[in-house]
Amino acid sequence: MRTIAVVGASLAGVRAAQELRAQGYAGRLVVVGAEAHQPYDRPPLSKDVLLGKATRAEIALLDDGEVARLSAEMWLGVRAERLVPPAGALVLSTGSELPVDGVVIATGGVARRLPGARGIRGVHVLRTLDDALALRADLLAGATRVAVVGGGFVGAEVASSCHALGVPVTVIEALPVPLSRVLGERIGAVCADLHTDHGVDLRCGVSVAGLVSVPDGAGGRRVTAVELSDGGRVDADVVVVGVGMRPATEWLAGSGIAVDDGVLCDAGCVTRLPNVVAAGDVARYQADATGRRVRHEHWSNAAATPATAVRNLLAGRTVARHAADGYVWSEQYGVRIQFAGQVDPTGEVRFVDGAPADRRFVATYHRDGAVVGVLAFDSPRLFTKLRRQLAAIHAR
């Protein structure tokens, strides 16, 4: 291959570029990234960046030396508009066309928004560095109450950071128990307690019926409250919408690449076309022998999938498969939460160390008697051991 393009210049894209060079690819390498910023790490956005504790340099994925060593053309602030089938060229937002022999799709996702929220000042999402800086500026400009819509990982972390900044917070969660889809009801309930421990107002089982706004005096509107489905109302001058993301795949329309809640791939991150692979949040790959496909929106998945994707791209066929361990971590109210494996919603949860009431414990998830997942609050040592054991069982 003479030209390979990596589309998306975040964790998965940067790792893909590094892997291409590490695995011996010496041809032309172009990294196309829609964001104008140098590639950065996203997890700190809801944590240290909101708190003003992390500098740009600290969240940078590459320093100048590393950029130079990659010998890649970094086309930042440029969007891939189209992939011309069968993956012969990329059409770019600059109007030009880049002929390619291979493509790594690493376009991640775009934050979901609330209908009718566009253009109302004070309403935020959090996916990009620009989002984080805008939210922080609004919080520091004298916010009196923040409403966080969605009590998932990002919503919970934003609530925790707002609390740390001294701004009162209400979390609005549609499920009866936050995080119950990802961590199960039992552990979700402990996560709910983390909010209430800190005086955060948690409203579960309600959704947003509408936003109340007033003229902002500059020709636009500014949010003042959130109306709830149960008739309630939360006064807030800042609203953060944390209702997940959708995979960034529109640009693949007409490319011949199959898309269904992500880019459909085999177990080796290879799409229907052998010279197009996908990695990170956007990739929906085959998880096991049943053919079931999964898409993970976790840092470690975006860090690990590029190695497999690149290996298969360079081989021209699927010679390696990716085995996900589903690891994710989160930081809420000073507690480090770590999870790996799977949750069986109807399976048993056992507390194997510590106690939920102390907010320091380790729990295991079971299916048919076997351990399928492990979770810890502030217990990295035992967590790591159990995570290793779990991975060893699955490797067998």
Binding site: D63, E66, W299, S300, A303, R336, P380, R381, T384
Partner: protein
């Protein structure tokens, strides 16, 4: 020189965290003792809580690995070395020599 622990409290495969000018992690690898900065150079995690595999410790948060002998990271996401410190045992007590020996490439 800082007193870390009694040798009997640091059996092979184990680690302790010691307070010094910065937190220091001391490991026992099959009888050989190593001391390095406890805080990962990537983000905020304690390497004493990490996974010991031969002369390498894997960070419990994002799996960067460090060579205990040199302090050098062997894989991403860490890029900078941790400091390494000489360790001595006198009379069944483990001591760590501070200040550090700079991580060497």
């Amino acid at each position: 020189m800082i007193e870390a622990c009694r040798l009997v409290d640091l059996p092979p495969g184990e680690s302790v965290r010691v307070s010094a000018h910065v937190p220091i992690a001391v490991f026992n690898v099959d009888g050989a003792l190593y001391a390095i900065d406890d805080t990962c150079t990537h983000q905020d995690a304690s390497l004493a809580d990490g996974w010991l595999e031969g002369c390498f410790v894997e960070c419990p948060l994002h799996a960067a690995s460090f060579d205990l002998r040199t302090g050098m990271p062997t894989c991403l996401p860490a890029k900078r070395p941790v400091n390494v410190y000489p360790v001595h045992v006198y009379d069944g007590v483990v001591y760590v020599d501070t200040p550090p020996t700079e991580g060497v490439a």
